[in-house]
Structure formats: structure tokens, C-alpha cells
Symmetry: C2
Subunit: 463 residues, 2 copies
């Protein structure tokens, strides 16, 4: 492997300039998926990427039709018998660029500043896609093959809710059969410390409607004789959580997988400046379940949030009514092994049980997404960790994100694959903001990490 490594390094060194030219050419295409005016640019980006994958040695490459921007597919399936098959996911579409006046340079004219490459998409996610292209190119050019079978899926609508991805995955389940999905759309921890994202929270979204009088009533003529629906709503909401932030819905925590010693050690290992975090929120103080750290509450515990509330009069001054109805929007963030609709049902049953008989209460389920967790102990996570340590020279941190990456759940649910979230962007990469950039050290080392990860996976039993 040492000889292989020298050959690989020589190839990468020899091709560095071409690699940067390709990267900047890809970044120059304004493939903003949220803006219909850029649909042709997205098409152009898809075709450019298909060409780059073909040039790297991929087969069956095509920019496949969806109802929207194409999904670029390609594969290389000539690994040794019994080698695992790895599905690599990324996206070639980018965020809009406004406010344009805050950019130090035009967003689609990439420039290098020290060890940074600045452009829209430099990190999210064209940079990470190009890491995979470069790794593939290096492997096939220097060894004539890869240690694992590879299938690439690069979509063009991630920044506009991946509206056509799930249908395409459903329609191509057999072709996409694999042992593992690698999503490279995450990044490093604060201080640019290498990290693997091992968990994402799921979600369940719903609405609570409380109705009292048939119409808004005069608060003088009727006040004191009927229930006020806003009061009833407030009384219900106040019973959903305790003052300590713990959800009071019976059975809410039943399905929550207990944090293991390893999990808690991983959370504790993450650098965390509570004062800086608090300042970032603007809240008077941090708050939540007392038995868990801030990062544990954010990444490893479920929530019940009220996202919106309304009812009655909202204008200037005063209006003397008892409103006919009041409403709240709610979401739960979920952790394994919670299931969205089952969680909603528990909340609904509790609310209906505590609702006073003086009002009519209704709950509507909007939908949800499963939480996602590939444990630290999973062989694929272990392989990724070894690859990071071998290339970056440090053990990775393990992050659990509080939010969701819907495509992770899609690969788990539709294709039944474990997902490794292996990404290389710096934590302050300004994705979605002006002056987005990629750290070029992360980029170059990331290419080596991907090669090493595939090598590690060759001998890792995943089934």
C-alpha cells in the first residue's frame, strides 16, 4: 500500500493544476435550482459533471431526466468479488447569491485567497462532489480500478427540497442496490476539526386548532360566561412541557434510544463554548432537560417546539373580543428509534385527554421524517474514522446534528442503506451566505481520505 500511496501522490501532484481548473470551471456555472431563470445553467452543470465523471473513468454516465433538474448517474462495478458496493451522493445545484453587494468577489468567478477558494458552491456542494471526482480519477488512473464498486448519484435540486429525488430513487431501486451510502454534504467541527456526522434528528409536524364560540364575541357582553379559546390553547400548550423543558406527553420518551457511554463520551469530546453559543442565540440563558448537556439536548434528545401561534386580534391597540378560535403550529424533532406518526399520535392522544370540554380541539398531522443514526461503532463509521486519522492525522470527532438531512432518510428508507455522512467543509464555510469558501487543505486531504475510505471498506464486512 505504501507503493500505491506514492504513485497516488505523484499523480495528484502532477494533476493539481488541471484539478483546480476543473473545480473552478464547475463553480463558474450558476446552477441555482431555486430560480427558474437558471434552469438552463443547471442543465449545463449536469452535462459538465457527466463529462467530468466520464473523463475520470466512470461508466453508464448520464444526466437522467426527472421532472426538474437532471440527476447525474454513473458507476464503476469492476471491483473484486465480494467487494462492497458504495453509493456516493452529492448535489451540483447551489443556493441563490443575494445579497450580492456583500460578496467580496463575483460569486461565480472563483478566486483563491491563501488556502481558500471563494465562490458560490465552493463548499456546498460542488467542492465535495469534485473531491469524489478527483479521488475516482486518481484511483482509476493509478491502479486501473477501485477497491469497491461505486455508484454516483449527484442531484440538482438539493437546495430546493430535492423534490424529484425520492421518486427517482424509488424507480431505480434495483439499479442503485449497494451496501452503503456515502453522503458528502456535511463538514468539520468548530476549529476545523475533522468530524463525522453520525446522527440527524427526524421530524413530525402538525397543527392544533381550538374552537370556542361560533363567531368572535363581544368581551363585555359575553366575558365571564364562555371559555376563551386562546386561554384553552395556552393551557394545553403549557401542559406539553415542564418548566425544565422536558416533554410531559406520556410515553414520549419510550422509543428514545438511550445514549450509550460511547455516545456521551463523543458529545463530551466536542469543543463547546457555552457563552459563545448563548451569544449566538441572543436568548437570556440556555435552557432544556437538566440531565443532558447542551450538545446532547441538541443532537441526542427529542423536542416539542411551538413554531407559531395565532388567534383573535393582532393589530395596534386593543379590540374587545373573545375570539372564536386559536391555533398553533408544532413540530417534534425526533431521535432514533422514534417514528414520526407514532410520536404525533401520542401527542394527539394526550392533548385530546387534557383539552377542556369548553372548547373543540382538533389536531392535523402534516407529515414527518425519520431520524437517522449510523452509530460510532458501525463498521462503515469505523472505516471512515480510520481513513480520517490516516490522512488528517487526528481522530475524528463525532457530531449529531439537531436538524435533518432529508436525503439521508431517503437512502435509509427507500434503498435500505446505512449512511455515512463524510464531509470536508470548514465549519465557517458561509454556505448559503455571501463569500462561501472551501478550505483547500481540507479539499486536497479530503481526496486522500476518500481513497483511503474505499480502501478501508474493501475489507470491511457491511452485510
Amino acid at each position: 500500500m505504501a507503493a500505491d500511496q506514492n504513485v497516488l501522490e505523484a499523480h495528484l501532484a502532477a494533476n493539481r493544476e488541471r484539478r483546480m481548473e476543473d473545480y473552478t470551471a464547475f463553480l463558474s456555472i450558476p446552477s441555482i435550482s431555486a430560480l427558474p431563470a437558471h434552469n438552463a445553467d443547471s442543465q449545463r452543470a449536469a452535462e459538465w459533471l457527466a463529462g467530468a465523471l466520464r473523463a475520470a473513468g466512470l461508466e453508464h454516465v448520464s444526466a437522467e431526466r426527472t421532472g426538474g433538474n437532471p440527476i447525474v448517474y454513473g458507476d464503476w462495478l469492476h471491483a473484486e468479488a465480494d467487494a462492497p458496493t458504495v453509493l456516493v451522493y452529492g448535489h451540483y445545484d447551489v443556493q441563490p447569491v443575494d445579497p450580492l453587494d456583500l460578496w467580496e468577489s463575483p460569486p461565480f468567478q472563483p478566486i483563491v485567497k491563501g488556502n481558500r477558494l471563494q465562490a458560490r458552491g465552493a463548499s456546498d456542494d460542488k467542492g465535495q462532489v469534485m473531491i469524489h471526482v478527483a479521488a475516482l480519477d486518481a484511483l482509476l488512473a493509478t491502479r486501473g480500478g477501485a477497491p469497491v464498486n461505486l455508484k454516483y448519484v449527484v442531484e440538482g435540486e438539493e437546495e430546493s427540497s430535492s423534490v424529484h429525488l425520492d421518486g427517482w430513487l424509488q424507480a431505480n431501486r434495483e439499479r442503485l442496490a449497494a451496501d452503503l451510502a456515502v453522503i458528502s454534504d456535511t463538514g468539520f467541527f468548530e476549529g476545523n476539526r475533522p468530524a463525522i456526522t453520525v446522527g440527524l434528528r427526524g421530524i413530525a409536524a402538525y397543527q392544533l386548532d381550538v374552537r370556542g364560540p361560533g363567531v368572535d364575541l363581544h368581551s363585555g357582553s359575553y366575558g365571564g360566561t364562555v371559555e376563551n379559546p386562546i386561554y384553552a390553547l395556552a393551557a394545553i400548550l403549557a401542559q406539553l412541557k415542564g418548566p425544565d423543558g422536558r416533554v410531559r406527553v406520556p410515553g414520549f420518551y419510550d422509543d428514545v434510544r438511550t445514549l450509550s457511554e460511547t455516545d456521551r463520551a463523543a458529545f463530551a469530546a466536542l469543543p463547546m463554548d457555552e457563552d459563545a453559543y448563548l451569544a449566538e442565540t441572543g436568548s437570556p440563558m440556555l435552557h432544556g432537560e437538566p440531565d443532558f448537556s447542551t450538545l446532547e439536548r441538541k443532537g441526542g434528545r427529542p423536542t416539542l417546539e411551538i413554531n407559531g401561534i395565532w388567534g383573535g386580534f393582532q393589530g395596534d391597540g386593543s379590540k374587545t373580543i373573545i375570539p372564536a378560535h386559536a391555533h398553533a403550529k408544532l413540530t417534534c424533532r425526533l431521535v432514533v428509534d422514534q417514528e414520526p406518526e407514532r410520536t404525533f399520535n401520542k401527542v394527539r392522544d394526550y392533548i385530546l385527554a387534557i383539552a377542556p370540554p369548553t372548547v373543540r380541539v382538533e389536531l392535523t398531522y402534516f407529515g414527518g421524517g425519520l431520524p437517522s443514526l449510523t452509530p460510532i461503532e458501525h463498521p462503515a463509521t469505523r472505516a471512515a474514522a480510520r481513513a480520517i486519522e490516516a490522512t488528517f492525522g487526528v481522530e475524528p470527532l463525532y457530531i449529531r446534528e439537531g436538524g435533518s438531512i432529508p436525503v439521508a432518510a431517503s437512502f435509509e428508507d427507500i434503498l435500505g442503506l446505512p449512511v455515512v455522512l463524510l464531509g470536508f467543509t470548514p465549519p465557517d464555510d458561509r454556505a448559503h451566505s455571501p463569500n462561501e469558501y472551501m478550505n483547500l487543505d481540507n479539499y486536497e486531504t479530503g481526496i486522500r481520505t476518500v481513497v483511503r475510505f474505499f480502501d478501508e471498506l474493501r475489507d470491511t464486512p457491511l452485510r
Copy 2:
């Protein structure tokens, strides 16, 4: 007095036709104060009324300038020494008439249907003003004088918040000195049963603002680590009242005057169909303090209502935020001897005491109005009751309205006068609605009641 009565009846009988002509002429002027296009009509109605008051024998009559529609003033101050002075209040402006297509006849072309006179203003309040004009005319024509000194104040902006009345009262305090104010802008109880309104609730209006994060936060990235301002608001609101509707603010009921045996007997004497009342509200059930009847809770007990609430996302579907702030509009209905700002201060202190330290809470006082009560035992109320019994042949019921009549508080606060709310409209008079009407039996008997009331007051010590 029997001889006087015969002369009075003969006069009223002889003048019935002219009296109806005057009434319909007054009703024909579309003096809609809320619509600037009718300002000239309001001016014309004021001048018409001034002429009618002069014709009845009033002195110092003028349509006095305000910033808006004139206030018509006139007096007769020649009663015997030691006779009390009575200030009579009414208004000559009327409500708008839309929806016009629901009127059975044009709103400003009065028509008689059986014992009803139908027109905008027939009951509210031109009809009641004309009862006073007719009573005055009958007294001065048949006796050459009245038993009490009289001052008439008829405004033209009652249906548009009486914006200039308080200033005019302030500026004319000496000229308006009296022993009693009689407001004829209320009516009879259900079943057209004669009634005196003895109480009105006051009000205190304010807003509650709860602030948490500096901006709306992503509920995935931050959920579980900071307080949700909507939850904090709900928890505060839920602690303001118990499930029985009783306000939990310490000291809230301290200033509430206990209902006397007489008060409770008067409430109990009022016909009340709870099923019909419930159906009218549209609520699933009636609700409120368990130790008080529905009418007691409405007329004799204070409230704390949430008139509006808002915060975060209110659109279709779901938005995954922890909102930066949440708000509620609140009002208290007050009964004697509660004071608006003192009551607000108690609510504010309680809320600030229970507010969690995880959010910033602010309360803003918008203003208020005093409750009003002229007890059943008050000599002026007793005199009005005797007048009703003598003319309508039944003892009056005593009503406490849940709402406020701001002018009642104005006469009490600015002029320091006890107020008797003596009105004659039928309870289903459709005031503010299409096909408003006056019951002509109420109207004719009402004239006799007013004459008798003044006679009763002559010998009633009010000071």
C-alpha cells in the same frame, strides 16, 4: 296630581299626530356620524333638534361647536328652590345602514307597522331623545314649568366614539353642574320587560410581549437548547386563570364590591334561558366562576380575557423555527370598586413574578375606563323604579351590562354625577342592524315615565 295627570294625558292625546310628525321628521335626516359624507346631515339634525327643544320651551338652546358634529345644549332652570337639577343625555347621530338590501323599507323613510316605527335611529337614539322632547313639551305646556331644573346635552358622535364629548364636558363643567345625569340610551329586558340598567363594567387594556432569541432560530439546530417564547407565553397565560375561570392574580378580587342580597335577588329575578344563551354563543358549554350565575358572571364579576395572540409562523403547512418573540392582547372587564390602572399593575406584577428567566417579558398598558354602578338602593334609582311602576304597571328589572357605556363614566368622572340609565327601547330593536324599530307603546308610555320620574325626583334628596 291626579288633575295634573288628566291635563297631561289630554295634552298628549291632542298632540299625538304632531309628535309623530316631529319624530319622523327627525328620523328622516341621515345623520350618520361615522361617514364624513353625512357631516352636513349631522349639522342639519343638530339644528333641527335645537329648534324642537326651543319649541318645547327650553332656553339657552344652541348647537355648540366641537371639533366635529355639534353638541346641542339647552336648559330650563326655573324649578322651585331646592329642587334638584337633572342633566339629560342622548345622541342624535345614527349608525350606518349597510347592508342596505336587507332593509324592508328605506332606512330614512320611517314607516309604521302595527305598534312599531321602523327607521334607522328609531330606537338608537333619536327615539329616546324625542321621548324627552315630548315629556318636556307636555310639562311646560300643561304646568308652565317642570318639577326639576333641566339641562339637556345631546351629542352627535356617540356612534363614532364620542371623540369630542369629554373635552366639551371638561370645558363646561360649571355650566353643567347638576345633581344627577339621566342617560336614555339603553332599553328593556327580554320579553320587553321594563328595566333599569344599574351597572356597567369598566375595562383595562394591555399587551404582553415575550422575547427570547435575537432572531427566529432553526428548530433543528437550536431546538432543546433555548426557551421557546411561545411556550413561555402560553405558560404565563395558563397561570392567569384557573380551569374554573377564576383569575389567579393575587389581589385581583380585593377591590371587587361584594354582591349584596339585593343585587343577587335582582340578578335572580332576570328571566334567563341558559340553553338559548348557549346556542347564541355557539360554544360547547357555558363556563366561569362556579359560585356565580351566568348573569352574575357577566354583569357583576370582573374578567381577564385574552383578545389576541401571535408569534412565529402562521402560514400553510409547517416552518421549523423557534420564534424570536410572541405576544398577547389582554383586557380586564372591571366592576366597582376596581380601578383600571391599579388592576393592570396587579396583573403586571404577577406576570413579571411568574415569568421564567429564560425570556424577556414586557407589559404595556393601553388605558382603561372605570366601571359604573348606581345601586338599586340609590334614591335616584328608586325614583326611576317608582316612575316605571306607576306608568308601565310593573316593577322594573335591574340589569347590569357586561360592557361599558363610556359616556356614563364621563358623566361620573368629569362632572361627578350619579348616572341613571333609563331607556325604553325593546330588547330586539335591531339597533346597528337593518330594520331598526321602536315599539310605539314603549315610546308613548316612556314619555309618561319621564314626566313621572321628574315628579318623583322633586322630593328626592340626592345630595
